[in-house]
């Protein structure tokens, strides 16, 4: 069997493409969690993003409106979560779960009219460069703008958290909201913004799925990616670079197990399907096992409500 070197390049590119929604949603959720808020509604926000993007694209015909509309939809649905948990001080876990159930339900309802409609082609960048360099060409070139944004995002997130003042404030709020408040930081405002940002990124991740990755609307099309994104945040110990690694492993194994099933490897299908979940978690646990580092990067106030007058 002769393996075309460009074919390997294409496989790697498809792995990266499948990692994109995970990276986007995880990096968004990471900021939310770093501020001390545990939003389990990622799956719901993602699917709202997916249907909003697809619906807006079909109705308006504008990809730009669709992409930003999906992000806005993510912001809107996360603002429900923000209002409930930050203003009405509800429990983060319960509210997040409700958000996911709500998102899946409402997206199925809106989506009824969009089932079976073909998507539009999304413009890709640097297509002409794809064949100029073997192996590297197909990996680097010929992708959508969202793809490039997703792979820059972990590094930007890292820079934001470690090097900027606002990033420091986000970490401080997540570490001790009481101290932050006593220092004159507006804890609730910071948390609101972090939740809305997480919503926007989840919305974008959903839009990527329904507009670029598989350009069509299928009910429940996020298929648990929101939960994987949540797991990546925790198992990466709130480190954006490790999220990138985790998302790549997960995407890689998902793609490879498809190919293995296609070739007809004699391993039970159930095991192959479960493989990405198991291996990703094992790898992330192994690379983040330093308990001191876990203590330092875990937001101490994660999931705890903050009352101003105490």
């Amino acid at each position: 069997m002769i393996i075309d070197i460009n074919f390997i390049g294409l496989i790697i590119a498809s792995i990266m493409a499948s990692a994109v929604p995970l990276i986007l949603a995880s990096c968004g959720e990471l900021i939310t969690e770093r501020s001390g808020v545990l939003n389990l509604g990622v799956e719901g926000m993602m699917i709202i993003g997916a249907i909003s993007g697809f619906a807006l694209m079909t109705v308006t015909g504008s990809l730009i409106i669709a992409i930003f509309g999906a992000m806005l939809a993510g912001v809107l649905i996360s603002s429900i979560f923000a209002f409930l948990t930050q203003t009405l001080i509800t429990n983060h876990v319960a509210t997040g779960l409700a958000l996911t159930i709500f998102g899946i339900g409402i997206s199925a309802m809106i989506g009824k009219n969009f089932v079976g409609i073909p998507g539009k082609e999304f413009p890709i960048l640097f297509e002409s460069l794809k064949d100029t360099i073997p192996l590297i060409g197909p990996i680097l070139f010929g992708h959508s703008i969202v793809f490039y944004f997703a792979f820059a995002l972990p590094f930007m997130t890292n820079y934001f958290l470690k090097k900027t003042k606002i990033g420091l404030i986000v970490r401080a709020v997540g570490d001790s909201p009481v101290s932050a408040s006593n220092q004159g930081i507006k804890v609730r405002l910071v948390r609101y913004l972090c939740i809305l940002y997480g919503g926007a990124m989840s919305g974008l991740a959903g839009a990527y799925l329904s507009m670029i990755y598989t350009p069509q609307w299928i009910e429940n099309m996020t298929g648990g990616r929101g939960w994987i994104a949540l797991a990546l945040v925790v198992f990466s110990t709130w480190n954006p670079i490790k999220i990138l690694i985790g998302a790549m492993i997960f995407g890689g194994l998902t793609i490879i197990q498809f190919h293995m099933q296609a070739i007809g490897v004699r391993i039970p299908v159930q095991f192959l399907t479960a493989l990405p979940y198991i291996v990703t978690i094992i790898v992330l646990v192994v690379i983040s096992r330093d308990s001191r580092k876990i203590r330092l990067s875990t937001p101490s106030s994660l999931g705890k409500s903050f009352h101003k007058d105490n």
């Binding site: 970490r171 401080a172 009481v178 932050a180 875990t298």
Partner: protein, 496 residues
């Protein structure tokens, strides 16, 4: 330049309690002021008002004749009022430098220079790039102080700053505070420790139940006069009668060793002692020398060799705390809210936790609530716990009331031996007095006490025999009359 801070007719009312009742005070720079009062006297509320954390219902604050509107901590900072809180306001997982830069508008490099010059000036040495959680309590406090100094404050408020410090760290702090004062910073020092007021301050304002009771110069006061003002009644000076020498041995520890797997714990080496009936054995030492391990071994949280502990002619070294209670031992651990009581549970539920055999708290696995409540009410009235609501969550009890509740819960079963660890830690004078009286009463009833404490005065007051623990080893056991606090100090430092 002189700084003048004036508090005028400040009132703050909470539902069911007047925290500050028409308080007026005036401070001038160059002096160190003490704000003295028991827990709940309203001093913390007052300084929180000064630092913008709490907004008063009525009253004005003037700094150099300017009327200040302090609606948030930011306003206090802008007006050059710095505050070091009792519970540190630091971000544990951020580095020291990140903690300092977060509320500063300066550039990284210039701030670093500024911090370095402050540290040099006051002889602080702290690594700026390690996370705060790796610092000792004293170092954390210095970080808080540096945070205030960066802003060149006119006023520096210290809220109970020594409650987490060692003796050494306390004297360092006092030196720094005196230096700040000489440089013209107005210092307000909040405490309930009378000794510190006498040692450090120039003027003292005493608060009681939200009201300002007196303002006077330190040179006109002494410890007794201040204590009386603070409590509002003449405190009896408690003195222990010399115990009848009894030779009836109650508990005997032989060759007890404990090796911990945790590198932060202390190993116990070759512990031997015995306590007779009606006797109080005091164990002194600087904290972290094995006291908490010793307490856990004695209470059964750590199981040891069966034969190491002989109690009332039974070998009980391998029993857990519940089983030891059946043999009439009782325990009062150091950390009231973490070890002794469960903060989120109601008073009567906490009482039920000490479920001794004869209690009948539970019938066939069901909770006998009436019985427990009746029992709880008895504890509350017998031991002077200042509440009549046994449904109150125990986290809302003051330290003194909680300690009384815990001691009461332990004593109502009339145990033969009470083992307590720092029973008056962080309490106010009134509560300390009450606990001390109770402990003396126990001895008078021919029951015994093992008192592990870091407070030397307390040990000398209550113990019949004293030993010192240092690096997991006990010194020889001495008669309390032969011991002075100087001698204890030397032994605590590790000398022979």
């Amino acid at each position: 330049m002189n700084t003048n801070l004036k508090i005028s007719n400040v009132t703050k009312i909470y539902p069911g309690c007047v925290a500050n009742d028409n308080v007026s005070l005036e401070f001038n720079s160059g002096k160190i002021y003490a704000l003295l009062g028991e827990n709940g006297a309203g001093k913390s509320t007052l300084v929180k008002i000064l630092s913008g954390v709490i907004i008063p219902d009525e009253g004005e604050i003037y700094l150099n004749k300017n009327n200040l509107k302090l609606n948030s901590p930011l306003d206090a900072k802008k007006n050059d009022i710095g505050m070091v809180f009792q519970h540190f306001n630091l971000f544990e997982t951020l580095s020291v430098f990140e903690n300092l830069i977060i509320d500063s508008d300066e550039q990284r490099e210039s701030l670093r220079e500024k911090i370095d010059s402050i540290m040099k000036k006051y002889n602080f040495s702290i690594d700026l790039d390690i996370p705060v959680l790796n610092l000792s309590a004293g170092q954390k406090q210095k970080v808080e102080i540096i945070r205030c100094l960066i802003r060149n404050p006119k006023v520096l408020i210290m809220d109970e700053p020594t409650s987490v410090l060692t003796e050494q760290e306390t004297s360092e702090l006092f030196l720094s505070l005196k230096k700040f004062s000489e440089e013209g910073i107005l210092i307000i020092y909040i405490t309930h420790k009378l000794k510190e007021v006498m040692q450090l301050c120039d003027e003292v304002a005493v608060m009681r139940r939200g009201k300002l009771v007196s303002v006077s110069e330190i040179k006109n006061e002494n410890i007794e006069s201040l204590a009386n003002k603070m409590v509002g009644q003449n405190l009896k000076t408690i003195k222990k009668k010399k115990a009848k020498t009894s030779s009836d041995q109650l508990i005997k520890i032989t060759n007890l060793n404990f090796t911990s797997e945790d590198p932060f714990e202390t190993n116990l080496m070759d512990i031997n002692f015995s306590v007779n009936r009606g006797e109080c054995l005091g164990i002194a030492g600087i904290s972290g020398n094995g006291q908490s391990e010793l307490f856990q071994v004695l209470s059964g949280e750590i199981i040891s060799d069966k034969n190491c502990i002989e109690f009332n002619n039974n070998y009980i070294g391998d029993l857990n705390p519940q089983e030891r209670r059946e043999y009439l031992m009782a325990f009062s651990p150091e950390d009231r809210l973490e070890q002794a009581a469960i903060p989120q549970m109601k008073i009567f539920e906490n009482v039920a936790l000490n479920n001794f055999k004869s209690s009948n708290f539970f019938n066939n696995g069901l909770i006998n609530e009436n019985k427990i409540k009746e029992h709880s009410k008895k504890i509350i009235s017998d031991f002077n716990v200042n509440t009549d609501n046994i449904e109150l969550k125990s986290q809302f009890l003051s330290g003194g009331n909680l300690q009384k509740l815990i001691i009461g819960r332990e004593l109502i079963t009339s145990p033969d031996l009470l083992i307590c660890f720092n029973p008056t830690w962080g309490l106010d004078v009134g509560a300390i007095n009450y606990i001390h009286e109770t402990l003396i009463k126990i001895n008078e009833q021919n029951k015994s006490i093992i008192l592990i404490s870091t407070d030397t005065d307390e040990l000398l007051k209550l113990s019949d025999k004293i030993s010192v623990i240092h690096k997991g080893k006990l010194s020889k056991i001495m008669n309390a009359e032969e011991v002075t606090s100087e001698k204890l100090g030397i032994l605590m430092g590790g000398a022979n």
